[in-house]
């Protein structure tokens, strides 16, 4: 075992040798090494977060035909540090009538819900926090803490706009959790495990080929879970000012902001892990865990870019449209897709991997085509209803 084949365990063994050399008990040294590992992972995540601030601002600028930050450092790359200094020296306000403890806990919970996800992100075959056998449920559980943090912020701020943002968040996040869980079940079904490492290892053929609709549902519900445009109803600047974080200033707002960016990047990582092969890229991952980790981070960055692309291209949806889209379209589609996937993969259980993939892909195409046909028929009916508003009774009689 060298550094290049198994870096994490190599460093851990070396640290263990050093600590026990100092006369430390082995159990205590193990706990200490685990703490150091957690600290290193969180520090890496937060450093990446600083970079993400720059990436986000630069990319949104290009989408809006602007230049973006370009004054501080080459390509404005030191702009985030200026932002941090600004946030740090802002006045730290706790509004009158706010519930002080909950108000101050909320931003911490918000960032915590994101950092918890990093524990199971598989960067490379041997670089990961833990390999939970219920990893996919863990993603949903961490999302639940994120929802909780927004409700805490909205309620404790003692502000009607904040409370409205929190109410909207409940409606949105609880609803979109359902298609998300169902979409998560599709990779579980195909891989036969809920552990993310097992899912990546079983993706000889990327799951996006086996279940393109599943990937689409997951991306949509992930964007809703992130609360990014077109689903940013909990902030909705033009309607409820800034929603749940309206009263937060300085670094407390900074924690929400950092959490949001890192959340988007983390979900980019999970999109790549669940449907796009994670650290696998046509055998390139065999060059060692470092290369695999770089592949994974690049894929995560790409899907982060996709999420940004959606965010800055699609306008915000109305709240009843958002709920109707979920309950009348996404959830039924997800359930139908899950059943079809289970049925087809059971029927083709004996076939070779290629036929299996082709059958599942075909099933997805059929489901997608049927969905589009149903939507077209529905839209046609609605259009006919709306084009003849003068005599609705006659219309009803005709049908």
């Amino acid at each position: 075992m060298t550094f290049w084949t198994d870096p994490i365990n190599f460093v851990a063994d070396w640290l263990m040798g050093v600590f026990t050399g100092w006369g430390m008990a082995e159990g205590l040294a193990g706990v200490l090494i685990a703490l150091i590992g957690i600290f290193a992972l969180v520090t890496f995540a937060m450093l990446l977060d600083i970079l993400l601030v720059w990436v986000e601002r630069k990319v949104v600028a290009r989408f809006q035909d602007r230049l973006g930050p370009n004054r501080v450092g080459p390509f404005g790359i030191f702009q985030p540090f200026a932002d941090i200094v600004k946030l740090l020296i802002k006045e730290d306000i706790t509004p009158i009538g706010a519930d002080k403890i909950i108000y101050n806990l909320a931003p911490i919970f918000s960032l915590m819900s994101v950092l918890l996800l990093w524990a199971i992100l598989p960067f490379a075959p041997k670089i990961f926090g833990v390999d939970l056998n219920v990893g996919l449920l863990y993603i949903v559980a961490a999302g639940a803490i994120g929802t909780l943090s927004i409700i805490m912020a909205g309620w404790a701020s003692n502000n009607k706009y904040a409370l409205m943002g929190a109410f909207r968040t409940v409606a949105q996040m609880i609803s979109y959790e359902i298609p998300m869980v169902v979409a998560l079940l599709i990779p579980t079904l195909l891989a036969g495990t809920m552990g993310v490492n097992g899912i990546v290892e079983s993706q000889g053929i990327w799951f996006v080929v086996l279940s393109p609709l599943g990937a689409l549902i997951f991306v949509i519900s992930a964007i809703a879970e992130l609360g990014r445009s077109p689903f940013d109803l909990n902030e909705a600047e033009s309607e409820i000012v800034a929603g749940f974080h309206i009263e937060y200033t300085g670094m407390k707002f900074g924690l929400f902001y950092a959490g949001e960016l890192l959340h988007a990047f983390t979900f980019g990582g999970f999109i790549s892990v669940l449907f796009f092969g994670g650290y696998r890229f046509f055998g390139l991952e065999n060059f060692g865990p470092i290369v695999a980790a770089v592949i994974f981070l690049l894929k995560a960055l790409f899907f982060y870019w996709v999420i940004m692309w959606v965010k800055y291209t699609v306008p915000r949806v109305r709240i009843d449209h958002m709920l109707a889209f979920n309950w009348k379209f996404l959830t039924p589609l997800a359930f139908v897709l899950l059943m079809v996937t289970a049925l087809v993969s059971k029927l083709l259980a004996g076939a070779s991997a290629g036929w299996h993939a082709a059958g599942l892909f075909l099933a997805n195409v059929v489901v997608g085509w049927l969905t589009i046909e149903i939507l077209k028929a529905h839209a046609r009916r609605q259009r006919e209803r709306e084009e003849t508003p003068a005599q609705p009774a006659v219309q009803a009689a005709q049908h």
Partner: protein, 169 residues
């Protein structure tokens, strides 16, 4: 005292302390948040008992859905029920007495049982509890019928809740 025992005592203190706050605090939102702390402690206890799946399901179902629903309900029914004034019945001492007697009775009953202080056997090697649980829930030889009944119960609750809370005006 081992490391595991210290962890257990820590979480037990969290659970019991938050539970006490749930039943005594005046502010209903605080009560719901304390409930979340208690449920989190219970999830940690499941993890200590090697039931990782239940620990995660506890967080998803209880904290992600039930506790959030509670906060929502408290916010919706808040106008009349101010946080001022006593939140306990005038007979609260009777309730306290009954609880203490219940605890004493349960403890006394259990401490006379032979298996009270037994320690856990090692989990057999190669036993995947999650896999076993999944098979047990859908196997006709095991618990597929209770599982289906539970799903029908959930469906009935869904329809019933929508019907009851639906505003007809």
């Amino acid at each position: 005292m081992t490391f595991l025992q210290i962890i257990f005592l820590l979480f037990a203190a969290v659970i019991l302390g938050s539970a006490l706050m749930v039943v005594t605090t005046r502010n209903m939102i605080h009560a719901a948040l304390w409930l979340i702390a208690a449920l989190f402690g219970v999830a940690a206890v499941y993890a200590l008992l090697n039931a990782g799946f239940l620990a995660v399901v506890q967080v998803v179902v209880y904290i992600g859905a039930i506790a959030i629903l509670f906060i929502f309900a408290v916010m919706l029914t808040r106008r009349e029920m101010r946080d001022k004034g006593p939140q306990l019945n005038k007979n609260w001492w009777m309730a306290a007495l009954i609880s203490v007697v219940t605890f004493g009775g349960l403890f006394g009953l259990l401490s006379n049982w032979a298996g009270f202080s037994k320690t856990a056997a090692e989990i057999p090697a190669g036993l995947d509890a999650v896999e076993q649980l999944g098979i047990a829930l859908v196997s006709p030889d095991a618990y597929v019928l209770p599982f289906e009944v539970a799903s029908i119960l959930l469906l009935a609750a869904l329809i019933g809740a929508v019907y009851v809370a639906f505003n007809k005006e």
